[in-house]
């Protein structure tokens, strides 16, 4: 027994640990990821088209995205369901339970409003002043990864609720599409996450056009006011071109250039840095159904979703001009606008020539309510192609 023990000790103590060599079979479907799953995660297969966001957040079935970028998601990054605005990837990074950094990956057709505008919008979300082109250029850094040019930014400020917040972002501008990688969180936590995010960006690989790069976006909408680059889904050109409409602009409404799926776009200055956003959008075909849009808006207001019957019953039926309109007019229970005001969405759904249109106003409760009459008069003046 003593000899045996001595042999065991000798065998275990004397040798340097060996270098191991082994082979791992990799499933042929899906991306390889050396650091996390051995098999690709089961993703919800896309049905006929993804549910992507129209610019005003209505649900609409559209066609597939045009470009595929693959990446290696680090071990410990928790995948979250995609939303209408976060349409390519959504992760929660390791961190304190109440302050886990969030990485959103989105892609939109064209310039999606432009690099400067989007970077300044991110700055605005941190309470930082916008910068002109020259000043912005000094703040940005460009790196190349797998033949793609990534524009990096890193800003620290305060979130709308006053908590310190930091945004580290990367933007990739393609001729026909723009990708946004945005990491947000507490500055101290992001100091730890930053190197991993940096390493993650270096795993980006452009695969090519064709299939959608991610799991299908769910019908779960983004929260009201959540950031997105000016969202516009990848749509076929025939649908995507802004339709020509005629209307009378009500007093106090400032028109801005339409883009993406917006046939018309307005802002109403309500004072004290509040504004009401109004958009007119043509949805494809029958859209995703009234009930889906109602629940989408309710979720944006932080309200519970309804059954299809309840959602349909929640709509007010009106005849306005030549349109038979279904009106949605609800407010949030909690003050979700800058933490001080309740939000309200006033939306009108109507059909014209076999397609569904949505006119939607959103802003602070009292401001939207004050615009209801002008909203309805605009609707009456509307002439559609």
């Amino acid at each position: 027994m003593c000899v045996g023990m001595a042999a065991i000790f000798a065998a275990s103590c004397s040798q340097e640990e060996p270098i191991r060599v082994f082979e791992v079979v990799v499933p042929e479907t899906g991306p390889r990821d050396l650091m996390s799953e051995s098999a690709p995660p089961a993703t919800a297969a896309a049905a006929a088209g993804t549910i992507a966001a129209s610019q005003d957040g209505s649900a609409d079935a559209t066609s597939q995205a045009s470009r595929q970028i693959r990446w290696e998601s680090p071990d410990g990054w928790q995948t979250r369901p995609l939303t209408q605005f976060i349409n390519r990837g959504y992760y929660l990074l390791p961190g304190p339970p109440e302050a886990r950094p969030e990485l959103t990956i989105s892609a939109y057709p064209g310039a999606a409003g432009g690099l400067d505008a989007n970077i300044n919008r991110w700055r605005g979300q941190l309470g930082l002043e916008p910068l002109d082109r020259e000043a912005l250029a000094a703040e940005l850094e460009t790196i190349e990864v797998s033949g793609m040019e990534l524009v990096l930014c890193d800003f620290t400020g305060n979130a709308p609720d006053g908590a310190p917040s930091r945004t580290i972002g990367a933007v990739i501008e393609f001729p026909d599409e723009t990708w946004f990688f945005k990491l947000t969180g507490n500055p101290d936590v992001l100091t730890v996450s930053h190197p991993t995010f940096d390493a993650f960006l270096r795993t980006l690989q452009l695969v090519g056009g064709g299939e959608s790069a991610t799991a299908a976006a769910t019908t779960q909408p983004s929260a009201y006011g959540q950031d997105a680059a000016p969202p516009a889904p990848a749509i076929q050109p025939a649908i995507g071109e802004a339709p020509t409409v005629r209307y009378q602009v009500p007093q106090g409404w400032s028109e801005s250039p339409p883009g993406g799926m917006r046939a018309a776009s307005f802002q109403i200055d309500a004072g004290d840095d509040f504004e009401v956003d109004v958009s007119l959008v043509r949805l494809g075909g029958a859209g995703a159904g009234d009930a889906m849009n109602v629940n989408l808006w309710r979720e944006q207001l932080g309200l519970a979703t309804m059954s299809d019957e309840q959602a349909s019953a929640a709509l007010e039926l009106l005849q306005i001009g030549r349109h038979e309109v279904r009106i949605f007019d609800q407010a949030s229970d909690d003050p979700i606008i800058q933490g001080t005001r309740r939000a309200r969405i006033l939306a009108a759904l109507f059909d014209h020539s076999g397609t569904t249109w949505v006119l939607r106003a959103r802003g602070a409760d009292e401001h939207v309510t004050a615009e209801r009459e002008r909203f309805l008069s605009f609707l009456e003046s509307l002439e559609l192609p």
């Binding site: 270098i19 060599v21 799953e37 071990d75 928790q78 730890v192 930053h194 270096r202 795993t203």
Partner: protein, 423 residues
């Protein structure tokens, strides 16, 4: 030991005439038994109070899995403003002690020697032999467990499938040949070999690995300014290396802390220099490069992996609390175990005190995270896991036999006395 040692002989031992008999006499001494048990109590006591400074794993390693242990007397410690952290006390004097292997080995030898010298195998003493045999088995079982058992963890998000587990305490530098789309070839260098200045070559690697620097624990940050205040530029010129700084730290010593090792290696292939690369457990992302033979490689520092020929999918993690409280009642992982011969898989529930045993591995419900959407299974591979159970049965049997013998002997004597008194 157990209070069942034999009575000392009534006549003194004859003076031993040979060295062997002298040695046996000393090794079988009851005084030695008492001394060793006392020393074991002291070691256990010091190990227990040293857990304040050291983690459980380090305590086990320092006090019990060595021949020579030590206890450090410490002073100082407290909040240090310059680093903004609480620093541990500093050792200033070391007391050397017999380690667990020494005490266990001597107790084993003492027990066996006592049997050789004093005990004679008989039916009357069979219980004692069984008890002692069970104790010997227990000691040996602990030895085999210390030498052979391996623990690792499998961290699964809901919906995720894994076919490997990782050791959270031990790292490995992995070079993975991903040239073949369907098959990865992993060449992994254990953390113990990553010492600054080491040069590692292997037939499966088309390059030499030169360890430029290594820290058992270091924090990384993206370079925000010149090096200073403990932050050092990383001596790596590839990929992420030039963009980060590192802060070397002492290895984690408590269960709340985690050691994140980091290494910089230079890769050379004959005349070609592939540059120097940073790999860290803080950055669980692999880095890509190609070699002159056209092969594609990924490099990463990761927990020591153990791949299995079966996979586990976490379907759901449930965390039940007592109604009206936040007190945990039950943690359960609902998994699907898929093996090559069972492509559909078996649905299994793993919950507290109900592990899954499969192919020599035992999967325990260990921890959870991420708002109850991530389950962490403790994966144990211990070939000697049955030995403690067997030894307990043997000891219990021995106790039963010995006390049974004593009982019947006593009853027999009483019957005789009663009969004698009656007559």
């Amino acid at each position: 030991m157990t209070g069942t040692t034999d009575q000392p002989p009534t006549t003194p031992l004859r003076r031993a005439s040979s060295p062997l008999k002298l040695a046996l006499s000393a090794l079988s001494s009851l005084r030695l038994t008492v001394f060793l048990l006392g020393a074991a109590m002291v070691v256990v006591f010091l190990a227990t109070i040293d857990q304040v400074h050291l983690g459980i794993h380090e305590v086990i390693d320092i006090y019990f899995r060595r021949f020579i242990a030590y206890y450090d007397l410490r002073k100082g410690g407290g909040f240090d403003e310059s680093v903004g952290a609480i620093l541990p006390p500093t050792p200033f004097f070391r007391i050397w002690l017999p380690g667990g292997y020494t005490l266990g080995a001597l107790l084993l030898v003492n027990l066996i020697a006592a049997h050789v010298v004093r005990f004679k195998l008989s039916l009357r003493k069979s219980g004692i032999f069984l008890i002692h045999a069970g104790i010997v088995l227990l000691l040996l079982g602990e030895l085999f467990t210390g030498l052979l058992a391996r623990e690792s963890q499998m961290t699964l998000d809901e919906g995720q499938t894994l076919n490997f587990s990782e050791d959270p305490l031990e790292a490995e530098l992995a070079f993975v040949d991903v040239s073949n789309p369907g098959l990865e070839r992993h060449i992994v260098i254990p953390e113990s070999r990553l010492r600054p200045g080491a040069v590692i070559a292997h037939p499966d690697l088309p390059f030499r690995v030169e360890v430029v620097d290594f820290h058992a624990n270091a924090r990384l940050r993206t370079k925000e300014g010149p090096a200073g205040e403990g932050w050092l530029d990383v001596p790596a010129n590839q990929d992420l290396g030039p963009r980060v700084q590192w802060f070397p730290m002492a290895p984690a010593r408590t269960l709340d802390e985690v050691s994140l090792p980091a290494v910089v290696v230079r890769l050379r292939d004959g005349g070609r220099d592939f540059g120097s690369w940073l790999a860290s457990r803080q950055i669980p992302v692999s880095q890509a490069f190609s070699t002159s033979d056209g092969r594609s490689w990924r490099l990463a520092l990761r927990g020591r992996r153990s791949y299995k020929d079966f996979s586990i999918t976490l379907n759901e993690f449930q965390h039940e609390r007592y109604p009206g409280t936040n007190i945990p009642k039950d943690f359960s992982s609902f998994i699907t175990l898929t093996s090559p011969e069972d492509r559909i898989g078996r649905d299994i529930r793993i919950w507290m005190n109900h592990p899954l045993r499969h192919e020599g591995y035992t999967f325990y419900q260990h921890q959870f995270a991420n708002d109850d959407t991530t389950s962490i299974l403790l994966v144990v591979n211990n070939p000697s896991w049955l030995i403690p159970y067997i030894s307990c049965v043997v000891v219990f049997l021995g106790l039963g036999v010995q006390f049974g013998i004593g009982l019947f002997t006593h009853l027999g004597r009483r019957r005789k006395n009663s009969a004698a008194a009656a007559s």
